[in-house]
Subunit: 395 residues, 2 copies
């Protein structure tokens, strides 16, 4: 992972829920940095999401304060007070305004967030801030994740090379509806806040908003993009060559992080790439892709490496596409055509389907035969371990 | 189970897929009977669904021919030919028209339906027709069902007492691979076909259309209501006292059959009754109820008997209710209020929630606080056995 000049991080073991591991992260943006963010669309959004939205609107973010182990969601007024109190603690010590701190939480829903661990750990965090803190931070934000998720890219723009580094966490309750999970991406390019927000929106739409583990949009999803400007290279507009180059790098980082989340999906044994093409509109392509991606029957067949094409066909058939002509629908597993002319494709063999299913990465392609729109969604299979992890998570 | 005068049934072991058990059922409606049916809305509907729809439209149904073990779905033109051929075989032997026979299939998707077993078994079936054939039929239509499902009711109307008897199969509201929900209900009341269809539509909407195991709508779902008139009592209009009484009995039979399907849901260990009230419109109530009912996180928590109310709250929050005021939402497990004022209800204790969760029947009540509409949906939990059954089904 490449450090980003102007962005410093520190991690600490605050004992919020987990013992013997870091669970609190502080990110500092150098003065003059810009910051953009997108948040969950879940109506029951967590207290830190509400507070972070308010503070982001003030426009001069200097710190992100992120805890794992407790989502501070479903906690009502008490949760809002706790989130604000953690920001106040930090602002007091850092000498900044309350609304220059954005709070983030991830973990169990519905338990009161204790503020004491923050009070005790903030001095340590302030002292520990360093540009090489990304690796520790990527581990400290994990909950049911089994691996840390981080990506770096470099891109040449006018005046020099700029860096983009991002980290994310997320493994279950994943259906990014804006963003999902938590992700923090930073660059040392200088980017005006409005350009940065547009850049982030585009990157998230094509990455975190195209993945699903279980269809359960979280209460705490957030994705943050920070630009320190410390490289001395600036991007002033998205439609310039430099803007496009930086946006592509940010998009790459988000896509890779999103793919890492699916690979680490709770209980996942397969990465499944569902491309729907020939749709009349993009929303139609997405509706079909998500119906297939969320079908428990498709997901258990994928887990069993069973080329059970009938379940994919049935899911497409119930996706609510008005006037779907099933005789025009074609479906492929990898390069193997499994469905055409309203049923099993002529020449399809179980052996050919099985060969694709035995792989750990399974491409599913569905042509609806009614237009030019296409969308791709990433998902994973449904295994015993998904049930185990989620049946035992609170015990 | 009460026999229905004018309706005769026979079952046989045709060897379509299963060895050593009945897998073919013939139902005969006495001359002058009426018949109504509803079918799956899956665009990839099975061949027998297409043929049954056509034949039903002709309006003089005399026979239902039902096989288990093979869904004849995803089989294209060959499947349509096979379905018509089985009807032709029966019509030839029974001396009726081809379109007086409705075919039904349930079982594995995508395998050609063999016609030979029908040819061999139809004579046996014709000879075996008897009014007491309901019990054998309820077993012959089973696939992954672990128990047969049958219900009888009697109702007094003008002129005497009429009977309503129904059977169903299904272990998920739908499972493309294996089954689908099939239900056959009969009465010895006389009912005009159009009144019968309206009565069936209402009964199905409040029963089979309010249950879900996994959200996967089958390619083969069908529900049939037959009226022989053999009791000598006739119902001419739905809005008469007799019409309402009979409709209530038919509705009861359908609701009980639907509940039996959920109790026998694949891997199910809990029956979960999700009532959403205080909604602005019925479709809003249903959207919330189904979002909760389909949430893998809610379902695994139910399996674990974990009063993880945060997952219910998160599912309500992502159900797409525009302008939902989370501070007005209240949620109960049984009589225990778990959510109010945007978070965990004051006074809620894990012990109280646990007591409800430990039961095998779990009522969840959600008040959205924005209107007068209410809907109830039945579902079950998501267990290891659901994954096992569906990962191993074809192996």
């Amino acid at each position: 992972m490449t450090a980003i000049k102007g962005i410093r991080l520190a991690s600490a073991a605050a004992g919020i829920r987990y013992a013997g591991r870091n669970d609190l992260v502080l990110v500092e943006l150098a003065e003059g940095s810009t910051c953009a963010a997108v948040f969950t669309r879940n109506a029951f959004c967590a207290a830190p999401v509400t507070v972070a939205r308010e503070h982001l609107a003030a426009g001069a973010v200097r710190y992100l304060l992120i805890n794992s182990g407790n989502a501070n969601a479903g906690t009502g007024e008490a949760g809002l007070r706790a989130a604000r109190e953690t920001c106040r603690l930090l602002a007091g010590m850092a000498g900044c305004a309350l609304n220059q701190v954005l709070p983030f939480s991830t973990g169990v829903i519905g338990q009161d967030l204790p503020v004491d661990p923050f009070a005790q750990s903030v001095p340590t965090l302030m002292q520990g801030l360093a540009e090489d803190g990304w690796d520790a931070a990527s581990r400290a934000i994990m909950t049911t994740d089994t691996v840390p998720k981080r990506v770096s890219r470099r891109v040449d723009i006018t005046g020099g090379t700029v860096q983009v580094t991002g980290i994310a966490k997320g493994s279950g309750m994943i259906r990014p509806d804006m963003a999902t999970m938590l992700a923090y991406v930073a660059t040392d390019a200088g980017v005006p806040a409005d350009v940065l927000q547009t850049m982030l929106n585009g990157a998230v739409e094509a990455s975190f908003n195209r993945i699903t583990v279980d269809g359960d949009t979280s209460t705490n999803d957030a994705c943050v993009l920070m630009a320190s400007g410390a490289s001395g290279c600036a991007v002033d507009a998205l439609d310039s060559a430099d803007g496009q180059a930086l946006a592509a790098a940010v998009g790459d980082v988000c896509r890779e992080l999103a793919e890492m989340i699916i690979r680490d999906g709770e209980g996942a044994t397969k990465l499944v790439r569902i491309r729907v093409e020939g749709a009349a509109r993009p929303d139609e392509a997405l509706a079909v892709a998500y119906t297939v991606a969320h079908s428990p029957l498709v997901k258990t067949a994928l887990f069993a490496s069973d080329p059970n094409w009938g379940r994919i066909l049935a899911a497409v058939g119930r996706a609510g596409v008005a006037g779907l002509d099933v005789d025009r629908v074609r479906i492929w597993l990898g390069d193997v055509c499994i469905v055409s002319d309203g049923g099993r494709a002529p020449g399809y063999t179980e052996e050919a389907g099985q060969a694709v299913m035995d792989s750990s990465e399974i491409p599913v392609r569905i042509d609806l035969g009614r237009g030019d729109s296409a969308e791709t969604v990433l998902t994973c299979d449904l295994s015993y371990d998904y049930v185990k992890i989620n049946a035992e998570y609170r015990s």
